[in-house]
Point group: C2
Chain length 339, copies 2
Amino acid sequence: MKIAIDAMGGDYAPASVIDGTAEALNAYTGFDVVLVGHLEEIKPLLQKHGLDKNPRVQLVHAEQVVNMDESSTTAIRAKKGSSVTVAAGIVGKGDADALVTIGHTGAAVAATMIKMRTLPGVERPAIAVILPSKEGRTVLLDAGANVECSSANLAQFAVMGEIYSKIILGLDSPKIGLMSVGDEDTKGNDMTKEAFKLLSNMPINFIGNVEGCDIFKDRVDVVVCDGFVGNVVLKACEGLSKAVFHWLKKAFTKNPLRIATALLALKPFAELKGMGDQEEYGGAPLLGVNRICIIGHGSSSPKAVKNAIRVAVELVNKNLNEEILKKLQASNAMINVGH
Amino acid sequence: MKIAIDAMGGDYAPASVIDGTAEALNAYTGFDVVLVGHLEEIKPLLQKHGLDKNPRVQLVHAEQVVNMDESSTTAIRAKKGSSVTVAAGIVGKGDADALVTIGHTGAAVAATMIKMRTLPGVERPAIAVILPSKEGRTVLLDAGANVECSSANLAQFAVMGEIYSKIILGLDSPKIGLMSVGDEDTKGNDMTKEAFKLLSNMPINFIGNVEGCDIFKDRVDVVVCDGFVGNVVLKACEGLSKAVFHWLKKAFTKNPLRIATALLALKPFAELKGMGDQEEYGGAPLLGVNRICIIGHGSSSPKAVKNAIRVAVELVNKNLNEEILKKLQASNAMINVGH
């Protein structure tokens, strides 16, 4: 198995990507990596970890980088030699089994769509994120690959989310919910009402409409929504988490007694911070494309990069796409009814 | 000035509503109230507060109540004698200046639309909620009155949100943002891209697209979005807040030392909890309707009810609707371009 890694993506690239790749190669076996990036920049970092002589590491030069503040479509069009496009191209040609890229989600989706394309029968791919719930985890998709979705898209997302949660969260029969504005069957907009009908007839454990709060309530395992809603919700929750720690800090630095109390509370506070930690899964897969694509957060640490590689290997090993295709065959006839 | 109060709405009605009304009458002057509800149930509660002989209190009987779990449209259609419909009818006829109702948002919107109707020139009303940001407050609208919106609707929401934030938050020139999936001008779906153009040409302080995280960042004062997105985001943030306190409790009850630390930290924790406290504003206005409508959270305490009445009085006193109409006159010509 070979994992193509975009070495130049993210806020701390290429150092964090190379560090994380070294950690993954040390921790796990059964795969090689193709590091794609500007070789002059990468080589000193490889030497640091002794990766320059590691037979599991192959290097491919890419002249360009998509910067975090560039528009994805123009960047992908203008920079055909960018590390993410070259890496996606390697996977697209079948020379690697998975792509791991950090940072620019839009560029990653665009490069993947062009070079790797969607699985047969899949209309649109979807980004799946894992959020913490009170006592477990909830998968939310689409978190931003598609700003407009049809009900059929959502029905396919449900299948892809089901298979992903089975593999990554180890769930037997994940509860699938449709994001809406109330949990009664009749709630929603025209698109979600149509999706409700499709999902009701599919061979999945569909529990009906769910609300925003249900993401965190352990009531549902997989929540499907269009990528506009999913992206706004994901970012709002990230923003609120940061604000909560801002308010905590403010409340606990008001006077010396409170500062002392906060020092006693460092461990539980660290545990709280760990609840929202996205590093465990290293990134979000773009589900529904040929082979595997994992997109890491721009601020990914080496640990996050290491875990992104681990998840990519796991999704290849556990035949994510074969499972998705099998389940879609049983569902697509229903999904396409009326379309 | 007269405020019509639906005495039967919410999880703790009628007790919490009557208690809150008594508190408001004690705290503030310059208005009377019309309490609408089942008189047999209300009267003993009024006697408790001496409200049965208060000349500022008028009573109107309503035989029916819309329960929290009822579908709004069927409930409003079937229960023409429900407290919320009767109260909205009193305002609609001009016998009161504002409606305060607690609990069933859908029923409140439906009853208000039927009995009070929208302001001339306003296509759709919007629910405006106030969320805490790191150091201030952000107004989000629409939080759920409309599951489908046009770009013109969003442009009108911007005007209504601007006036509301000026009155309630005391802002001079509120920064208005359009909820999207990235802050570049080109980001969004077809509807928001069209709304971006309209907002750019309006006489408001439009700062462009904002993302979900910006609600909490003090970057923007008023965020406009369709009611589906707004409702999902609001409820997701409510759910995450509850989960945070669940995780805090878990982390701080793991062993006796942590429990002791938590006891020392009761005050800062209470301050943190206060950050998300919606009681200060008592409820969310339905902006864009004739006269004033404030919808309180189902779990409203007497304090929240008291503040909802205070806000209703303030919005009447400060001529919310006159200000909205004035600003809409200067904007509607631009908004209606292309529609």
